[in-house]
Symmetry: C3
Subunit: 273 residues, 3 copies
């Protein structure tokens, strides 16, 4: 089934509007291209409504936010809602500062979001109002493990119900849930956390997947999460003795570029709960 | 002849002031270094006039523009004009929003531009006032083909005459024209469109080429366009079975770094019409 | 001894707040991860005090500065001082514009800086009030050579005494000095100057090193400088015939990721004067 999700991205080549941080923006653009979609980045309030209009999906990422871009995100989000375009929210660093937490909550309040994609600390911040945080990385105390998985799945479904959004929590075990159904995904490799922005990349790619598969957004989100993680696995096995995180960064994107729908189908490791 | 153009870049190592989008800025800097010039990026109105002054050429790229950077582009452009420094304008996404279209037109009105480098949709927007657009990519309907090439060459020459600038339209077939003479360039590889910012990179490199060859700007622009496309060809042939767009991105820049004037001369595929 | 410095980075994994330019920010993040620390980038005045608070060290880089980020740097710097967090200042392009020179001087006046890391032209600008400059690169006239080394060491120590900061001047020969003791470092490779931002990367890595080694900041800074230079040497020897500056960029970061404390100890080429 994930096969079909990727096929639709490649076939429809959706244009995705990204308002995203300047740290990982280049990788986000190249990942969107790698999976078969087209990116455009624009963050000024004077143009974002128009840019959202010519696009088919929207990715809002609050890393390196500022007053100017926050306003642009709200305008773009509302315009996407008017047009019924899917919207991904990546609450990078929610919990690390009031500005990030409040901006993410404001976006959730004023914009109908299709998918919220973050690490467990970020999602807990939004769902529970407070949490521990370690900057833009998840706190170890929050980690999703086999032991607390049932609890975490219930948490994700409850938050999905509350927000009306699909909740994608990524980490060693990934969870993709709506209010009724959850995918537990076991793709990925620990080395992915040594590359900046693999989460941002996934959010951008998720926007491409749900835009190309508007009637199956839960499955499309799960497919994107599997694809990112599986790419991390394949790329890891390609590394030579002297390769570190910079080469790994490139290889992950390369794998996404070369991934066939069949490969994705075979490599996806998930169960539905 | 293109040989000489590259030799002059390497010999003079011109310092190029870039006001450019944050998506592809790192690649622009590395490409400018790869071809033998030096980049500096600065976009605040308080400093751009000074930065332009210590540089020898200016590259204005309107991707991810905003009120602050638009003002900086105007100041830098006017200062470059005072100093008789060559100016490249890359109207990224002109046609995709009023802000981009109007900013590009304002820059053309208030700044004497040496080269306008864009895809066909962007150039048509500036020349004809309206067009179709697909975000930052050219619309298929606009495509330069063998069938419409004569018409497109005439279009480019007319727009060159109107603006006083060299017009560089890049795509499957590239056109570099002033009001009298046009180069049709058939270097390049389709995979270049799967890397974000190859157009931005070319604009930055073009600024280096025309700055190092001030008396032969048409030829220098054509040389830069050939060099980018030829690098795309060589880089493509270097790709292994598992390499995708991320590795390709690096290889293109690598080829530019290693390109000798002789190689460029031999690899350039063009005719003058 | 440098062995221990790197071990402490890997063991403590300090979280480093970076306010840095958008040209090289992605490489800065990946280098911080490569050496074993964690980066967070945030530059809005509304959140920088909080972000600095959850971090353990601060890296201020004035490349592509603007009014908004200058204010943020001052707030973050003062907050870091209150918390006794180490602060690195990278005065990118000081001397190239009044805004850069004055911002660097203002930061030095209002913030207690632990390390100033720049090229010789930038450091001379701050120490002597004026200098020649070639954009963001050092001017040849300023170059540290075997002939003027004693004089340069004295200059660095004097400036260290004046500012209370460790002075790290990088170039063909690197100098790392406090008011009493100086390391002359002969690691590095000329090709590093063909990659944009190796200086920025070093500043970010230096912040990680001094944060993880708060009682030995001089040695920690020297260790970071050796590590960057030695990585440049190893990466250079890994280059194949077709590899240029883009692959080199990746290889340098890869080497940092793979560097063991033992390797660093063995490869560091320095004398104390």
């Amino acid at each position: 089934m994930f096969q079909k999700m990727l096929e639709n991205v490649r076939k429809n080549c959706p244009l995705i509007h990204n308002i995203t941080n300047y740290v990982t923006v280049n990788d986000c653009a190249n990942v969107v291209l790698a999976c078969g979609a087209s990116p455009i980045m624009a963050d000024d309030k004077e143009e974002v409504a128009e840019i959202t209009t010519i696009c088919a999906g929207l990715n809002l990422n609050i890393g390196t936010l500022n007053g100017r871009t926050i306003e642009a995100m709200l305008i773009a989000g509302k315009r996407a809602n008017e047009l019924n375009h899917p919207v991904v929210l990546d609450p990078v660093g929610a919990g690390a500062s009031k500005l990030r937490t409040e901006t993410a909550l404001k976006l959730l309040k004023e914009v109908r979001v299709s998918v919220i994609r973050g690490n467990i600390s970020e999602i807990k911040t939004l769902a529970l109002g407070s949490t521990t945080t370690k900057g833009v990385d998840a706190d170890v105390a929050d980690k999703v493990t086999e032991e607390n998985l049932d609890e975490m799945l219930a948490f994700a479904k409850t938050f999905a119900k509350k927000t009306g959004a699909i909740i994608a929590i990524t980490g060693a075990i990934d969870i993709v849930a709506d209010d009724e159904k959850a995918y537990c995904i076991r793709n990925g490799h620990p080395m992915m956390s040594s590359v900046t922005g693999t989460g941002c990349q996934l959010s951008a790619m998720t926007a491409a997947f749900i835009t190309a598969n508007p009637t199956q957004m839960l499955e499309a989100t799960a497919a994107a999460v599997c694809m990112m993680g599986y790419a991390g696995e394949i790329a890891y096995h390609r590394l030579g003795e002297m390769d570190g995180n910079a080469t790994y960064r490139n290889y992950v994107i390369d794998v996404i570029y070369k991934m066939t729908p069949d490969n994705l189908e075979k490599g996806a490791k998930y169960e539905v709960r």
